[in-house]
């Protein structure tokens, strides 16, 4: 069973709908009981870094979630701000991140003079896979929907699974061991998104 973490932000029903279409069991996680049923979890998120971190930390299952991810190594997929929260810190706010992936979140600003890249980065963009991670299996030539102004910078470049170009390249998918994240929205990315969510459901536990 895949648990979709509900802490009042993010499109929980879109993930449930996507998994239901693929006949993959998924449930909404609102408390310790529902978290107990999940063998892997998705951490969605929209909005600001501090707002999302504050809400997640006050969810009734938060302590249990940290134990299961950090100690039991259950698989977790962070999406958009859910992904950013898994880093150590963000330029967008002052709250501490979860620190599940070493690195930080910085403003997605193109430093190149003359380049015109409106922000937020909004719309469909290419995702170039640069590792053989099973999460991106079959997605070598894929495009996904992005909606963000900040990006993840991993400390270890090896944890960047895929990159996307917007002004400059950034990590659009990253992960190590049991912890993965995507900057784009797989739940809103049509058949490419469904493939990625199916891949996540099929990853072998650590």
């Amino acid at each position: 069973m895949i648990g979709i973490l509900d802490y009042g932000l993010g499109n929980i029903s879109a993930f449930l709908e996507a998994y239901s279409r693929m006949f993959i069991p998924a449930c909404r996680v609102t408390d310790v009981q529902t978290l107990g049923q999940a063998e892997r979890v998705v951490l969605p998120g929209v909005g600001s870094f501090d707002g999302a971190v504050t809400r997640l930390r006050s969810a009734p299952y938060f302590g249990e979630l940290v134990e299961r991810v950090v100690d039991d190594h259950i698989l977790v997929l962070g999406v958009c701000v859910g992904f950013q929260m898994m880093m150590e810190r963000s330029e967008e706010g002052s709250s501490a991140g979860l620190g599940w992936i070493p690195g930080e979140v910085t403003f997605l600003d193109s430093k190149e003079p003359g380049s015109r890249t409106p922000l937020p980065h909004m719309g469909w963009n290419d995702v170039v896979v640069n590792s053989d991670s099973p999460l991106m299996s079959g997605l070598d030539e894929s495009r996904f929907y992005f909606l963000h102004s900040y990006r993840v910078v991993t400390e270890d470049v090896g944890t960047a699974i895929a990159t996307t170009e917007y002004g400059s390249p950034f990590a659009s998918v990253a992960g190590r061991e049991n912890v993965y994240g995507t900057q784009f929205h797989p739940e809103k990315s049509h058949h490419w998104g469904l493939s990625l969510l199916r891949n996540f459901a099929g990853l072998s536990p650590c």
């Binding site: 499109n11 909005g47 719309g123 992005f146 917007y166 809103k188």
Partner: protein
């Protein structure tokens, strides 16, 4: 490469899907859930839902319907209509709407844009400007085109960006449903004035009009109603939307030198 966005725009009136001409003469087009489902099957880039009654008639936001529509969407959805407070906008985001449009309320109280940006992040805050552009100049209207404000759209769009909007949608009242092409001049000026994404709605009669917008304005949102819901000379209701290949061709044709 970031692509331009081609966006079906759907109007709601009393829970039905309708299409207007110059914001009047609403014609029944069908059931909104069904239409959203079809656009989702066709893998539309995004979808824009506008509830015409929410502000003008004062019915408020139909959260149940919006939540059902968002659940059917496997692409991002923008909802516009009747949003007056940051709490309402936050509630819409929490039920699965990626982007929420502010219109009448933002014109009356621009600080609302800042409050909303602070509460959910600028990427979810869209400012929708209904614009009448005639020989006597251009002006933003509110309440589904029924009230003039005397405000210039580009001046207000810049203010909205400064306050924390993440996108500006220009909705041309005089081009709505008329299939005369987009207001390229206004969109070009807007693109040059803003750092945030912009979207144009109103006037598209064919995919050639969309290509024309891309050619002049670049990576932009192209939204359309009639183009995707009507077919043929007598406006028979038929939902259509180009494939990924057709969309890619449309964009590459528009960027290649003539």
């Amino acid at each position: 490469m970031l692509r331009p966005r081609l966006i079906p725009a759907l109007l709601l009136q009393q829970g039905d899907l309708v299409k207007t001409k110059r914001f009047r003469d609403a014609k029944y087009v069908g059931d909104p859930l069904n239409a959203v489902r079809i656009f989702s099957e066709k893998e539309a880039d995004e979808i824009l839902i506008c509830d015409m009654d929410a502000t003008r008639v004062g019915t408020g936001i139909d959260y149940r319907l919006v939540s059902e529509l968002a659940g059917e969407c496997r692409m991002p959805m923008t909802y516009v209509g009747g949003v007056r407070t940051a709490d309402e906008l936050e509630r819409l985001v929490s039920i699965g709407v990626e982007k929420v449009g502010l219109s009448s309320a933002a014109l009356g109280r621009p600080d609302l844009i800042r409050d909303c940006g602070t509460s959910v992040g600028r990427q979810s805050v869209v400012v929708v400007l209904d614009v009448q552009a005639g020989s006597k100049g251009r002006e933003v209207f509110t309440h589904s085109g029924s009230r003039g404000t005397g405000v210039d759209p580009v001046v207000f769009a810049r203010q909205a960006e400064d306050l924390g909007a993440g996108e500006v949608v220009i909705n041309s009242i005089d081009r709505d449903g008329m299939r005369v092409g987009y207001d390229i001049a206004l969109m070009t000026e807007l693109r040059e004035s803003l750092e945030i994404p912009v979207t144009c709605l109103g006037g598209a009669g064919s995919l050639a009009d969309v290509a024309d917008l891309y050619r002049h304005v670049g990576v932009v949102g192209a939204a359309a109603g009639s183009l995707f819901v009507f077919h043929g000379r007598f406006d028979a209701v038929l939902i259509s939307y180009p494939s990924w290949q057709e969309r890619d061709e449309l964009y590459s044709v528009s960027t290649s030198p003539p």
